[in-house]
Structure formats: C-alpha cells, structure tokens
C-alpha cells in the first residue's frame, strides 16, 4: 500500500509538470436559506375555489320530519337501518383532527369527541349498543365522495348544511350551530376577518370556510390543507397569518396553543348536519328522530358539557330543528 502511495505521489508530480494544472480552488460554502416543510397537500390558492352556481333550495336547514323512533329490534323491514343492522356495523365518516369534536386521544389512541358521541347515539338506536360503530376517518374533501361511493353509511364531521351539498347528499336537522371566526397569534394585532388584507389564511380543502375566506371583502389569500390541525401547524410555523373557520373548531385549536386567540364577530353561520347518501329518506327521518330525542332527554346538553364547556362555556339550548314536511 505504501509503495503504491509513493508511486502515486511520484506520478502526481510527473502529471503536474506535464499538464501544468494547479490545486483545486477552495469552494466557499454557498448561501442557502432554510426551506420550511409543508403539511401534505398544503396549497396557496391563486384563484378562489370554484364557486357553486347560485342555488336556491329554500331553507337548507329544513330537514325531513321524524316519525316515532322504532326500537333497535323493531326496525322497519327493508329500511336502510334494517340493512345496516343486518350488516352488523354502522360505518360513520368522522374527523380525527378537530379537538373535542372528533380527535384522536393520544393517551388511549381512540377517536373521541362531540361528533363521535353523536355517532354512538345513532349506533345505539340501530343496534342497542355502540360496539357496532365503526369510525372511518375522512378529510373535508372526502366527505361527499365517501357517501356517494358508499364507503360510509353517514358522515358526522363538522359539516355545514348548504344548498350546494344538498344536491349531493341528504342532511339531518341541525345538531350544532357554529359561526365562522378567525384564529390568530395573540400579539398579531389582527382583530377579525376585515384586518386580513393580503394575509395568508388557512382552511381545509373542500370546506365552506375556504370559500368564505376567498369571498371576504378584505381580500385575504386562502391557503388550503387537508386537516384543521395542519392549519395550526402552519400558524405555529409562521406559514400562515390566521386560520378562519367555525368558532368551535377554532376553540379546539386555540386550546392546543395558549398563544393563540379567537377574534372578531362570527361573519358566517355554519349549521352542522349529519350527512347521508342522497335518497335515503327513511334513514334521514330515523336520524332526525335520534337527534330530537337527544335534544329533549338532556343527552345533547350532557354531550356538549362533556366536550365543549371548558372551551365555550356551559351548554346553550340545543338548536331548534326545522322541518320541511
């Protein structure tokens, strides 16, 4: 080895003399700037999300009037509920990222929250037990496709009722009344949606909040992500200036970061409904019956107090159901 080194050195000298090349120039370290990581699927929208054709469906929150609620053992033969009972499981599309509404409890690994307890109530009404409830995580964007493809029986995932969605799915009566507000860092000086000119504002893909941000008069720049917690990540990483969506979701985010606060007045009403596949009117009436029972027997209030009281105060009266027939 040594001899070969020596030979190499000798040759090197010969080569240098022959070719006259000098030593390589030292390279100064080039200037690089940090690249911030992005949540999967995060996109800054250059154009507002496609606006739906203006539709007038009357009052979208008016749902189908429930009949008397049958016992789990006496579901009408041939009904959607009987079919689900025969399948042995109720598959519900839920969220795993909205603190207190549908979130993964890191201690137990279980999905829990207000929406999940609602799903359990529906499962109990069909099976007599919530053991038959199967939760399937869907993103905002996946809610309607999941119902159309039949991969879930229903979606209970902070889903606002509107005319556009009513063209694709059926909605239950309103089970939660939310309003869109703005979440910012405490020292930001931002007071509401009107102060967000040219600021980057985060919302999830496919949510009504995203379109409301794009439509706001102050002209914010909408940034879309897959899940609400991705918005908090981007806010904490200084990649967006604000998050804007329903107050209850914002309260859940704010609870995870004491240096943030929810500001401004609600500038959009977001009535939440449970979504079911188009045409399953028997199921809608049945679910409305379940919700109605929760309104009256105190389950709704208990559920609210269990998950939301420490974020939003004690439970108000449950939203009043409206029916179109």
């Amino acid at each position: 080895m040594n001899r070969r080194r020596w030979a190499a050195a000798l040759l090197g000298v010969v080569l240098l003399v022959l070719t006259g090349c000098g030593a390589a120039e030292p390279v100064p370290p080039s200037e690089v700037s940090a690249e911030v990581p992005l949540p999967a699927g995060a996109v800054e929208l250059t154009e507002p999300p496609e606006a739906p054709p203006a539709q007038d469906c009357g009052d979208p929150t008016a749902s189908l009037r429930p009949g008397p609620l049958p016992a789990p053992t006496a579901l009408p033969a041939g009904s959607t509920m009987a079919r689900i009972r025969a399948d042995g499981k109720l598959i519900v599309g839920v969220d795993q990222n909205t603190y207190r509404f549908g979130f993964r409890n890191p201690f137990s690994g279980e999905i829990e929250g207000f929406d999940i307890d609602m799903a359990k109530a529906v499962a109990r009404a069909i099976f007599g037990t919530d053991k038959a409830l199967q939760l399937r995580i869907v993103t905002s964007q996946q809610r309607i496709p999941a119902l159309k493809e039949g991969t879930v029986h229903m979606v209970i995932r902070t889903m606002s009722i509107n005319c556009e969605r009513l063209a694709d799915v059926e909605f239950s009566s309103v089970y939660y009344q939310a309003g869109q507000r703005v979440l910012v860092k405490k020292d930001s000086g931002i007071t509401g949606i009107e102060a967000l000119r040219d600021k980057r504002v985060c919302a999830t893909d496919g949510s009504t909040s995203l379109r409301n941000i794009a439509d706001a008069d102050s002209g914010p720049v909408p940034v879309q992500v897959s899940d609400w917690t991705d918005c908090l990540v981007m806010l904490q990483q200084n990649q967006v200036d604000a998050v804007s969506t329903d107050d209850v979701i914002l309260a859940g985010l704010s609870a995870q970061d004491p240096f943030t606060e929810v500001v401004g007045k609600p500038f959009y009403n977001e009535p939440y409904g449970m979504a079911m596949p188009k045409g399953q009117t028997d199921f809608v009436r049945f679910v409305n019956g379940v919700i109605q029972r929760m309104r009256t027997d105190g389950t709704w209030v208990a559920n609210y107090n269990r998950w939301l009281a420490d974020l939003l105060g004690r439970a108000p009266a449950p939203p009043v159901a409206k029916y179109r027939d």
């Binding site: 001899r3 070969r4 390279v27 992005l38 949540p39 990222n97 999905i111 995580i137 899940d227 991705d230």
Partner: protein, 447 residues
C-alpha cells in the same frame, strides 16, 4: 571495423540556418546518428515508462476507489435509506400505539437517526464541497434530516400533552420523509451503485494502452538493433539486449497482472455488487411495505393510497404467488449456500407476514381497529412486526455476506497490481540505461 558511412539522405536539402543546420550537419555522420538514436531511445523509454505507469496506476486507483470509496459509499447510501425509512415507520407506529410511547420504539427511532447521520457523514466526507450543490441528494439529505427530526420532536412534545396537533406534526414529518428525504436517499444509492459499476469498468478494461506502448518500445529497440548491426556488423549488442529484455518483461508483467485484475473484478461484479444491489432492492422494498402497512392504519380509513402502494410493493417483492419477485431473484442469485439459506428464511417470513397483513386488513375492514393495530405493531412472535424484523434480518445477513465477497475479490485484484507501477518504472529506467550503455559502446569507437 567499418569505415564511417556517408549518410545518403538530406543531399538535396540546402543547409538551413542556426540549430537546424547543426542538427542537419550532425545527421550526416554516423556518430551524430548514434547520438540522436540514444536520445530517441531514452525519450521512448521514459515516455513508455511514464504512460504505462499512469495507465496501471489509474487501474490501481479504480481498485482503491472500489475498496475505499465507491464500495463503502454504496453501502453507506443503502444504510441511509434503510435507517431513514425505518425511523419514519417507527416514529409513525409509536403514534398508533396510543398512550406512552414504548421505550424500545423510541430507542429504535434514535438508533436509526444516529445510524443515518453517521452514514450521511461518511457519504458527505467523500465528496468535494463543489459536488454539494443545492438540490443534489446529499445537500437535500443534510439540510432536511434535521428539519425532519425537529418535526418529530415537536410531534412528541404535543403528543405527551394529549394534543391532536402532535399527529399533524408527525404527518408533516412523514410527508417530508416520503417526498424529499427518501427520494434523495434513493437517488444517492443509485448514483453510488453506478459509481461502483463505473469503477469496475475502469479497473477491468483491456490494457490496450499498456500493450500498445510496450509494442512501440520493443519495435523501436529492434529497429535500433537492426540499424546498429548494419553500421557496425555486430550481431549482438548487450546493452540493447538488456533494454529489449526489460521492455519485454514489463509488457508481460503488465499483461499478466491486468488479466488477473480483470478476472477478479468480473467476479466482484457477478457474485458481489450485482447481488448486493438485488438484495438491497429487496430490503428497500421490505421497508416500504412496512411503512405502508403502518401508515394505512395511522390514516384510519383514508389510507387507501398506502394500501395500494403496499400491494404494488408486495408484488415487486414476492412476485406472483412467491414466483419471480425480488426475493426469488435474490435467492437464485445467491453466491453461497449460506446466503441462500438467509434469503430463504426471509422469503418464508415474508409469506407469513403476508398472511398476517391479510388478517390486519380484514380486522381493520371489520371495524376491529384495536385488533388490527395489535397485529401490526404488537410484540407477538407471529405479529407483523416480528415477521418484518425476520425478513429484514435475513436480507441484512445476506447483504453482509455478499458484500464481504465483493470486498474480497476487489482486494485480491488490488494485490495483483501491487508493485506493478514501481516495476514498470524501474524496467523503463533499465531500458533507457541499457540503450545508452549499448550505443555508448559503439560511439566510443568513433573517438
């Protein structure tokens, strides 16, 4: 003793001015021709010596590169990919378990990161600063590995407080890993294996230059002897014969050494690097399958894309019902019974794992999420985690043994050229000295 011959040439040329005229004058006399012949032989000797030595040296350098650079670097690149992929699968599955992060999982993640960083340091140290341009795989890996670990720690900090945003940080980390770090590691591995192959080509090329130079030296020496014989009527000239002998020995030496190198390097390729590459591909696919399996569960129902990827990877790995996949190819290419046994063990574990994977998907599909998670990451002996470890261990052993064969063949090749450079230089010097001595003897006669 013959009378000096009058030169026949240059009769028509008018004597030019200056140095050219002197040379021309010199060329008219036999002693002049002899002096120039000496100079020519010395120059040819030196040039042949230097260029043959350079050529042999570049072969030796290629072999050195194989043992000390490209060989170890391709191993390092493979290690970077493996440890990063395993780190991400481990960190992600720690979230699956819920509750306190198991201590072994944390230790495994930390070991993976330490391993990746150390392998990365090796890979970076082997490069010139100018090679680390922005966007090159090494620059990406160096810049983003720390970002990745930062995100994982943020995820943990949030997770220990029971905050769902922790899972979002973990997803962001995983996204960074899958879209930037792993592709960069894979590109690095491809580059380094291509370099191994290039070094093998460089080390095992037929010695055209050496043979050509050797033949030129011999030709010039024979021509010189023919000329001397004509002008002096002596059949043999000891000096020139020694020189010719030296040139011949040098040529034969280079030829024998090089042919040995070519045989060893071909072996190192056929039963070394190519098999290592095949095994490494299988191992990388195994890791991808495992990551897909856990991520499908983490996504809880919206992980169809991961499961689709799993199916694709599984087909690449196991082929159609165990036939024709990467594992099969690795087994049929095994260089020894021992390697073959390790690959077979990996293959068996893979088939068992496939069965468990089916159970996991069935449990998850039927709503038994907890059962699916337990099957996937629980520490049962017949769980997916244990099966994955078995496949990985089998392939790791096989890679170790095959890499050893590669290094062995290359170091044998290296030994074959040891001393050749020095030998070639000394023989060239001997050739020049012999030529000078031989012609000097004739020249003396003209004093």
């Amino acid at each position: 003793m013959s009378a000096p011959t009058v030169t026949r040439q240059e009769e028509r040329d008018p004597p030019g001015p200056g140095r050219f005229a002197e040379l021309n004058e010199l060329a008219r006399t036999t002693p002049g021709v002899l002096t120039m012949l000496t100079a020519a032989l010395v120059v040819v000797g030196v040039l042949v010596g230097v260029f043959t030595a350079i050529s042999v040296q570049s072969r030796a350098t290629a072999l050195d590169d194989l043992t000390t650079r490209s060989g170890p670097l391709s191993v390092a690149a493979q290690e970077i990919y493996r440890s990063l992929s395993d780190a991400d699968a481990t960190a992600t599955s720690a979230f699956l378990a819920g509750g306190q992060e198991p201590a072994e999982q944390r230790a495994r993640y930390q070991d993976d990161i330490a391993q990746a960083e150390s392998a990365l340091a090796v890979a970076v140290a082997a490069r010139e600063p100018a090679d680390l341009t922005a966007g090159s795989p090494l620059a990406t890996l160096s810049a983003k590995l720390s970002v990745y670990t930062g995100l994982v720690e943020t995820a943990r900090a949030n997770n220990t407080q029971g905050l769902p945003v922790g899972a979002a940080y973990q997803r962001e980390a995983s996204n960074l890993m899958r879209t930037e770090l792993l592709p960069a590691a894979s590109e690095l591995y491809d580059t380094e294996t291509a370099q191994v192959s290039a070094d093998q080509d460089r080390a095992a090329g037929f010695p055209f230059v050496e043979v050509l130079l050797g033949l030129v030296a011999l030709g010039v020496l024979v021509a010189a002897q023919v000329y001397l014989r004509r002008v002096s009527n002596r059949v043999f000239n000891v000096g020139l014969m020694v020189a010719t002998g030296a040139a011949l020995v040098s040529l034969v030496w280079v030829l024998v050494a090089t042919l040995g190198v070519m045989a060893n390097v071909d072996q190192s390729r056929e039963s070394g690097s190519e098999d290592v590459d095949q095994l490494a591909q299988a191992r990388i696919a195994t890791l991808a399958a495992r990551a897909d399996e856990t991520l499908t569960l983490v996504a809880r129902g919206s992980g169809a894309a991961f499961e689709e990827d799993y199916v694709k990877v599984a087909e690449r790995l196991g082929g159609d019902s165990g036939q024709g996949g990467l594992l099969d190819a690795a087994r049929s290419g095994a260089i020894s019974g021992e390697v073959s046994a390790h690959v077979e063990a990996a293959q068996r574990a893979w088939q068992d794992w496939q069965v468990v994977h089916g159970e996991i998907r069935a449990a998850d599909g039927n709503g038994d999420y907890t059962g699916a998670v337990e099957l996937a990451i629980g520490d049962a002996e017949d769980g997916a985690a244990a099966r994955f470890d078995e496949v990985d261990a089998g392939l790791r052993e096989a890679i170790g043994l095959t890499t050893f064969r590669f290094t062995d063949e290359v170091s044998q090749a290296s030994n074959a050229v040891t001393g050749t450079v020095i030998g070639v230089i000394l023989l060239a010097a001997l050739m020049a000295a012999g030529s000078v001595a031989g012609i000097w003897q004739r020249l003396k006669e003209y004093r």
